[in-house]
Symmetry: C2
Subunit: 399 residues, 2 copies
């Protein structure tokens, strides 16, 4: 009978946190291929080896600890947002490591571990798992650049010396990713575990409004074609119009705004901004896209602005595997009776990609106040341990 | 009788344009202390010398061509916006040069020429003339930095070798600045000249709204404290509320916006933006400030956002000198009968500062479509010449 060690698991989480510790709460700065990220992976590879796993790095930096023969794959990612928390990704990897050790000690079942690279999107979106799953061509990924103009090709050159081939997914019976919820639902309900039913779909594009750059002192209000005012008007109309279409789980965000020339004394001639929306239903995502495009066109027409849309990026909603989900539900009820639920995932995860390769599932633990992608991200350590035990229980059930 | 040479004047304007020519229309990139700016000033100093003027550079880079004895000072600035036009500032300096030459040829009256430094605010606002007029301490100016972190002290070190003392303003009987209108009023009315009655006052501050940075996929809409949504709401309410207070000449602008962390997948935790407003009436400026502060406070309260205001920067509305203005009106009626008007200036100019030192006035020529602070800025050459002749006429009248 497999026996996980909660103290060892928590100690390892804190050890991983030291790589790129932000010095603010338990915050972490460990973007893909940064010095802290590479150091963390070297440490993790050592722990995998100590757990009796064969360490393998693929060409894009995904780090595997492989059990012999056919195994179940557990894991997530260890890279962070530019300002991230200590658990986002890290939790799933360290839980996987602990369960692999426990399985090794117990003589089975075979458990492999993975830390995917660039899940947080320094170069793209879930880059490492997307390439492995064939959803993103390596050539295309290589051309993607970060904010400073560094390409993915340049970044991954740092690990070329230790990299082997891509791992054959045929050796895995399935994939389970444990993760913090990153939303408030479990925390607010006082529940310990969420078994994920679907990962919501995501749509993302840039929108540009072109007005007329002009002097902010001498251009009368009635003569202005102010691109920022266009953005503000679009935002207000959109919020009104989406209200009739969305559910409480639907979200939409303008997270990035760039004005040109972005000066106090100049009427903005251009506003470029991000528009991202997420929902579990592909039909609703399409209906929202229509409203977004129509509203932007209407504002542009009314205010005399030029309008252009960037490429629409996105991932379809993905249901999790029924057999894996049942094992998680059974383990959750055994470990935390009445304190768990089934729920959708509002965030995109590596599991979205891995589901193309093998049966995949996810479980969540609560996020305090629903906070993540921020230094303040945290989870009660007791809840982390419950999550670990549920995951271990599911692996045991799956044999 | 003083006789200006329109061909020579236009040729010099085009020669100056070659320093930092943007390659887009007649656009110019010649920010203060850039290579192009310093080269333009070297050329201008040579032209001043050829016109019989004594060249003098002061410690902050203001370039004077001084006539002997007591003289009238004409001029403006030759630095440009990061993306500027060929006439903004340059026109007033080259007109001054041409009139100084004509006066020299005619044996009087004595005319001095100035090109102020950093009017366009790479480091501040009308930096060179503000320091000369005692409105900005040199120590404070030296600490101001541009967007790349270069300080004014570092920039002006480039001219330390040629710089002398500050010029004694007591030698000047007054200052007249000729400038493009930078607004649409003259152009729309088909008029050739505007004699400025007042320069409007200006208020400028940064406002910061602090929300909660969070994951854009997992944070439900009702739980968000989105700083960008706060900015959009503030903007909408403000536009409504100012409507009852403003005149057709009043303007207000949000020209700069910075979100943090400014990422597609993150609910903005902070929005910092510029709020600038201008009007000819100090009471109205104060009333607008009250509405701005109250509206921001209300939005912050309603949306659960933190709020902070930066320093309020500003300049008071300034009436021009009656005697100089009368000379300009007389000359305008003589040169362009029925095709001129008296009007306020919506833009800030060096004359706002120089008015602290001596009687000061301004005249405008039309801006095509009201465009300035952009490569597309332009004025019909015939209108430039009318402006030159009005300014020369006023100088002759003042004797």
């Amino acid at each position: 009978m497999m026996q996980v060690n909660p103290e060892r698991f928590l100690a390892d989480l804190h050890r991983l946190r030291a790589f790129g510790a932000a010095g603010v709460g338990r915050g972490v700065v460990r973007p893909a291929f940064s010095e802290a990220d590479l150091a963390a992976r070297t440490w993790l590879a050592g722990e995998m080896r100590a757990a009796g796993l064969a360490v393998h790095v693929d060409p894009v930096g995904n780090l595997f600890g492989l059990a012999e023969g056919r195994s179940i794959l557990l894991g997530s990612h260890t890279d962070s947002q530019p300002e991230g928390g200590w658990l986002d990704g890290a939790l799933g990897v360290i839980a996987a490591l602990e369960i692999a050790r426990a399985a090794q000690d117990a003589g089975g079942p075979p458990v492999s571990v993975v830390s995917f690279q660039d899940e947080e999107g320094r170069f793209g979106v879930t880059t490492g798992s997307a390439i492995w799953a064939g959803m993103l061509a390596l050539d295309d990924a290589d051309r993607q650049t970060d904010r400073d103009g560094v390409s993915f090709a340049e970044a991954r050159a740092a690990i070329a010396g230790e990299a082997g081939e891509f791992v054959d997914p045929g050796q895995f019976s399935g994939f389970i990713e444990m993760h913090i919820e990153q939303g408030p639902w479990l925390y607010e309900a006082g529940e310990a575990v969420g078994v994920v039913t679907d990962i919501v779909g995501i749509r993302d594009m840039r929108i540009t409004l072109e007005g007329e750059q002009n002097h902010a002192g001498t251009t009368p209000m009635h003569r202005r074609r102010d691109a920022f005012q266009g953005l503000a008007r679009f935002n207000a109309l959109l919020n009104e119009r989406l209200a009739g279409v969305v559910t409480p789980q639907t979200v939409w965000t303008i997270g990035h705004v760039r004005l040109h020339p972005d000066a106090h004394s100049i009427v903005p001639g251009r506003a470029t901004f991000s528009m991202q929306w997420r929902d579990g239903d592909a039909g609703r995502l399409a209906r929202m896209e229509e409203i977004i495009r129509d509203t932007a066109a209407e504002v542009a027409r009314e205010m005399g602005l030029g309008l252009s849309f960037g490429d629409l990026l996105g991932l379809e909603p993905m249901p999790t595997d029924a057999r894996l989900r049942e094992a998680l539900c059974g383990a959750a009820e055994a470990v935390a009776p009445g304190r768990w639920r089934q729920m959708p995932s509002g965030a995109l995860h590596d599991a979205t990609n891995v589901a193309r390769l093998m049966p995949s599932a996810m479980l969540f633990v609560p996020s305090i106040d629903g906070i993540s992608h921020a230094f303040a991200e945290d989870t009660a350590e007791a809840d982390l341990v419950v999550g670990l035990e549920v995951l271990a229980g599911a692996v045991a059930r799956l044999g």
